[in-house]
């Protein structure tokens, strides 16, 4: 059953974002969060989006998930509009989102229950997945009894349980400490390779994006646009020592330059908004750098 769904997943999960634009509010209060973004996640591909905070990354992901309607443009998965949430697009959130009243196993079973699967099959599937993630010993624990890293692992397992075609992850490891985060990246890579589904992963951590991705999109400051597309050709399986290889360092430098430029732009905007510009200072990217 497992390999069957994996084969099926391999052939699908193709996300296409086509000239997407998202605006919130009206008239004077209008905010353009995403401005003319086009990108794609090919079947089975691991794609990261990185960009300064507030640039519209979550908004973009929410359109793919089906929570936010585009103002213009379209988002499709395997040719179908993603106009409402569905179990074939699994989601992992930055905030802990396990149901506190359900045990770990019942959390994993939740999606299968919605599908109408009977209790025995649900339990079997949930236990198999929890076993793969090394969580079987905790199947009867409540989320409050788990560490942050374990909660996110259960969150990933829960999202995978319904055999989605793509996993959407919004800074899922953002709240974890550095060591736990590295372990989680390893686990996620293993799960992804085993299930061979597409992943759209949002992060603001450069190392994380390089370690995990096949391809990285860098977004501009708000309104978010695609600034650059960086393919990562480091061989897999990737190991922590790769962080010292010339190839890795070159990519890292490139990403850092791109992101710093955008972060400064974003801050420049804030400083202008805060009235610094009123003192006759020309606050562009360079200006901010000098101010700092």
């Amino acid at each position: 059953m497992m390999s069957q769904s994996a084969d099926q997943a391999k052939a699908t999960g193709h996300i296409v974002v086509d000239h997407l634009r998202v605006r919130f509010g009206h008239n004077a209060a209008m905010v353009e969060a995403v401005s003319d973004v086009s990108m794609e996640v090919k079947p089975g591909e691991f794609v990261s989006i990185i960009g300064p905070s507030g640039c519209g990354k979550s908004t973009l992901l929410n359109v793919v998930a089906g929570f936010v309607k585009p103002s213009a443009g379209r988002v499709t998965m395997d040719g179908k509009h993603t106009d409402r949430p569905s179990a074939d697009r699994g989601m992992v959130f930055q905030q802990y989102s396990l149901f506190p009243w359900l045990t770990v196993r019942k959390n994993v079973e939740f999606g299968l229950k919605q599908k109408g699967l009977d209790a025995n099959h649900r339990e079997e599937a949930a236990r198999t997945l929890l076993g793969l993630a090394g969580l079987l010993a905790f199947e009867n624990h409540y989320p409050d009894q788990l560490s942050g890293g374990m909660k996110q692992r259960v969150g990933i397992v829960r999202a995978l349980a319904t055999s989605p075609r793509v996993l959407l992850m919004d800074e899922p490891f953002g709240a974890l400490d550095a060591q736990t985060r590295v372990v989680m990246q390893q686990i996620l890579t293993n799960m992804w390779q085993r299930f061979r589904i597409s992943v759209l992963f949002i992060t603001h951590d450069i190392d994380e994006s390089i370690f995990l991705s096949d391809r990285i999109y860098v977004m501009t400051a708000r309104p978010g646009r695609i600034k650059a597309e960086i393919p990562i050709s480091l061989v897999r399986p990737r190991t922590p020592d790769m962080a010292l290889s010339p190839e890795y360092l070159r990519i890292k430098q490139q990403l850092r330059d791109l992101i710093t430029e955008e972060s400064l732009k974003a801050m420049g905007g804030e400083l202008k908004d805060s009235g610094l510009a009123g003192f006759g200072m020309e606050v562009g990217p360079q200006g901010v750098a000098e101010l700092i």
Partner: protein, 319 residues
Amino acid sequence: MQTAASLNLDGEQPGGQVGGATEGPKLVVAPKPDAGAAAASTSSQLTDTPVRRIAAWLRSALPKVLTTMLSLGLFVAFWYFATKYKWDFYIRFTNIPSPGEVLDNAAQLMHSDKFYNNMYVSLRRIMIGFGVATVLGVALGLLIGQYRVAKAMLFPVFETLRPIPAIAWVPMAIMLWPSNETSIVFITFLGSFFPILLNTIHGVNSVDPVLLRAARCLGATEFGLLRQVVLPAALPHIFTGLAIGMGVAWVSLIAAEMISGQYGIGYFTWEAYSLIEYADIVIGMIVIGVLGLLCSGGIRLLGTALMPWMAGSTQGGQK
């Protein structure tokens, strides 16, 4: 005090160790129902014999037991002397029955079917009135909390009626309902309905939105969302409403029974006054207090049983 706490910890270790084996989770109180039973046989047999445990418990509990008994003893003593010497200093003890008279009457009432019937009638009214209030309050609370249309249509009516105390409805209830019995149940219902409704709405409004989004991504339908996410997430608040509602239900019931009742423990208490059976008044009051306490305890037990995941947080409450 300290020893009691350490005994408690002993009981919980086995549950926690299951988790601690591979990767340390936070050692929160393990809510495993079998943990306590397993603990009795396995944990620290060398140092803790049953006799020692009891001795330790006595030592820790004794001061509290003593002060409690002293406090109650002083109260009864004051009552005894005040009635014995018929004290009259603005508050008049001239007609108040003494503790002894109350005990005598209580012994007689123990054999009175009529007395038990009064208790039964009151409890039945509470069960029906409170039961209907729970079903309606929770159902409407979920709808009003979750759907803007329901809130727009229903909430103004409830907000208008809410400030009116249930007792103020007595004359209206007598006109509305075909029998005295139904109007008393209605008053009981009214008393508990609003606390339950409002706390349910509050519970729905405080559901973490990320849980709703997670459920939608897992394929939950609108009804599934309400039943499998909103309801359990709001359950702690709902039980707060039930606890308050049970208290108000008793207040409303007793008042309604005193005003318009036939049968019931409130009626019994009022009738005792009319019949100059003053000792029975005290018995009625005590029974009302005890029944109210039992009902609240029942709600609390039900809450613990229905919300096992709250075990850690509720145990950490006041001592």
